[in-house]
């Protein structure tokens, strides 16, 4: 088994173009369809008052205390130049109790930022006004801030099921759909090595060697599993650490789902390999079939969009729909082990059945 595995690895090392193309294509497609790099919005702030530094530091702390926009103290000239050149949409000129937006074009994002900044300034003005009425403004301020942090009444918004209400991120779903799609291609092409080596006579040479049939299959299929898994891992790491996509808090659990999916997909590829006689037939059929799987599995659509029972049934025959269910549960709803067990079991089941039928078919083709 090990020599067969190592030979496949050596071939990949000699020609890593395919895996590079798949990684780049996946990232590129995700960027195009989900709207680019998810870096936090950064807004330049500056002051030109007499005690500019104090004003800047005060408002920087208050503005960055909440929300996902980052406010950064910037040199006034640079901030103006960036807006003028179109490198940033807006900059904020700070006064002691007021602000001024500096923009060259009226964009929807400017209204959103204006709304957020105004809220912070109003809150601060309210506290200041209230504190001014007190004999001990500092103590009053501390008291009111403490009360705001721990209010008497809190409003909690939940879903109908009682779960926390989350906003659905279609971009994250698409990112996983593309990642698993390119993994399916890679896995299929590597499982097809069995067929290639049969046609070119290498398989017969292996049969005549002391390596057992089980060892031969294990070598080829373990390699297909590993390369599919590693490719997916690389892509997800790039999304998480380079492109700042939100992959949830349970990356380890995500990789367990990916491992189950990869095993299951290796088996499906083995089944499709067993249905054809020549590697060329596989190359013709597989790339035609695989892009349809995400469509019938609803991987490109919002949950609940796909209602046709026939398509849903067909989609459920492939591991992608179960992997997507589990991944979305983990990433968007913070699901744990027990919440995704059903999806994992279904993927294992598909894997075992497809592997059994696939190897049987491959062997029949050999002996006929």
């Amino acid at each position: 088994m090990i020599p067969v595995f190592l030979a496949q690895l050596a071939k990949e090392r000699r020609n890593p173009l395919l895996i590079i193309v798949f990684v780049v294509a996946c990232i590129g497609a995700t960027m195009v369809f989900t709207g680019g790099i998810q870096t936090p919005t950064t807004i330049a702030i500056f002051s030109e008052e007499d005690h500019a530094q104090a004003i800047e530091e005060k408002w920087e702390n208050l503005l960055n205390a909440e929300g996902d926009i980052r406010f950064v103290i910037t040199d006034a000239a640079k901030a103006r130049e960036d807006v003028l050149q179109g490198r940033s949409d807006v900059a904020i000129k700070l006064f002691e109790h007021d602000y001024q937006l500096i923009a060259s074009v009226d964009l929807p994002t400017i209204q959103y930022i204006d709304h957020y900044v105004r809220k912070i300034f109003e809150k601060e003005a309210f506290i200041n006004a209230a504190a001014a009425q007190s004999n001990h403004p500092a103590a009053f301020r501390a008291d009111i801030e403490s009360k705001l942090d721990h209010p008497l009444m809190e409003m909690d918004v939940t879903a109908l099921t009682g779960d926390e209400l989350s906003s659905y991120d279609m971009g994250t779903q698409l990112m996983f759909a593309f990642t698993l799609l390119v993994a399916m291609f890679m896995i299929g092409f590597r499982v097809n090595n069995v067929l290639k080596d049969k046609v070119y006579g290498l398989w017969d040479r292996l049969i005549l060697s002391p390596v057992s049939k089980a060892g031969m299959y294990t070598g080829y299929l373990t390699y297909a599993f590993l390369i599919g898994f590693v490719q997916t891992l690389i892509i997800l790491l790039v999304f998480k650490y380079v492109l700042n996509y939100d992959l949830g808090e349970r990356f380890g659990l995500l990789m367990v789902i990916v491992a189950f999916f990869t095993f299951s997909m290796v088996s499906v590829a083995a089944l499709l390999t067993g249905l054809v006689r020549k590697p060329e037939h596989f190359y013709a059929i597989y790339p035609s079939v695989i892009p349809l799987i995400p469509l019938v599995s609803g991987a490109y659509m919002l949950p609940g969009t796909m209602t046709n029972p026939v398509l849903t049934f067909i989609g459920d025959l492939f591991p992608l729909s179960h992997a997507m269910d589990a991944i979305i549960d983990v990433v968007l709803y913070d699901a744990a082990w027990q919440d995704i067990t059903q999806s994992l079991i279904l993927m294992i089941l598909i894997g075992v059945v497809a592997m059994g039928i696939g190897i049987n078919l491959i062997e029949r083709r050999q002996s006929s």
């Binding site: 050596a10 071939k11 040479r205 292996l206």
Partner: protein, 310 residues
């Protein structure tokens, strides 16, 4: 050492090998000669345990290997007709791979690889990918991979197909040395009779799935002891001329060659004067006559009425 007993193989209704009996003694070099489609590759696939026979048996040292092929696989090196190598990998990586799957001990693997590369004359190209090799070089590495585990029996299935004469001679000399110097038993299939003549002690001639003749070269050639082979070179050929020659009572066979005809005749009579007369009648100019010693090719022609490369 190896013996087949009434070995037969049918694919659905089509019988491709029928009742083949052959044997190889230890250290012998045996040729399996026949045209394309004669059943040679199927026969050696059954001998090497790749294919189960429909009926009959393959025996190694008197014991059947059909049910338990592991015994024969341990002593066998098979060189397939196709280039069964990883094209993307270098010669060295391919040999290392085959050394590992044949479980050549780790401490001997490197020396065996270098020894085998030296044997096939490709030590200086060992780091180059196979896909950059010429056809002849690929064939030599194809053979080398079958030699790594020092097999006692080497089966070569048309190892010189489609290569240049220089590589062909290199391969033939290499196989001869393996047989003579190392005592490796060789089963060599080919449709080039001159290769088999050069290498093999005994020959089996196959056609349409059957062994139609067997024996040492001299035994096979004695089939033609009552016949002469005449090669006639002419400026042109006509159907009437060939038909007229066929009608001469002592002519057994007439075969067109590139620039003339080959005639097998009974030894009893000289037909040269008849040929000259017929050529004059047909306005054909005879350029050259040549009496030839019979070859295995002629034996095949005699037995089947076809040439080996038909």
């Amino acid at each position: 050492m190896i013996e087949t007993v009434r070995l037969s193989k049918a694919f659905k209704e089509k019988v491709v090998v029928e009742d083949v009996n052959l044997y190889l003694d230890q250290g012998e070099s045996v040729g399996l000669l026949g045209p394309n489609g004669a059943g040679k590759s199927t026969t050696i696939s059954m001998i090497s345990s790749l294919l189960k026979p429909t009926s009959g048996d393959v025996k190694l040292d008197g014991q059947s290997v059909i049910r338990d092929p592991s015994k024969i696989r341990k002593v066998l090196g098979v060189v397939p007709q196709e280039i069964a190598l990883y094209q993307e990998l270098s010669a060295y990586e391919n040999l290392k791979f085959f050394g590992r799957i044949y479980r050549v001990p780790k401490d001997q693997l490197e020396s065996r690889i270098q020894e085998t590369l030296q044997m096939v004359g490709l030590q200086d190209r060992q780091k180059d990918p196979i896909k950059t090799f010429s056809g002849g070089m690929k064939r030599r590495i194809n053979i080398a991979t079958a030699l790594l585990h020092s097999p006692k029996i080497l089966i070569l299935d048309e190892p010189t197909v489609g290569i240049d004469p220089q590589s062909r001679n290199y391969i033939l000399e290499m196989v001869r040395q393996l047989n003579v110097q190392k005592g490796t038993t060789v089963l060599y299939t080919s449709h080039y009779m001159e290769e088999v003549e050069q290498l093999c002690h005994r020959v089996y001639i196959m056609d349409h799935g059957r062994v139609i003749a067997s024996g040492s070269q001299s035994e096979l050639l004695s089939i033609l002891s009552n016949e002469d082979t005449i090669k006639v070179q002419v400026n042109q050929l006509t159907d009437a001329f060939i038909t007229a020659i066929r009608n001469i009572d002592v002519v057994r066979r007439v075969e067109e060659t590139g620039d003339g005809i080959k005639i097998i005749v009974q030894k009893s009579r000289n037909i040269i004067s008849d040929l000259v007369k017929l050529a004059e009648q047909e306005n054909i100019q005879i350029l050259n006559f040549q009496m030839e010693n019979p070859s295995l090719e002629d034996v095949f022609l005699h037995l089947t009425g076809r040439t080996l490369r038909n």
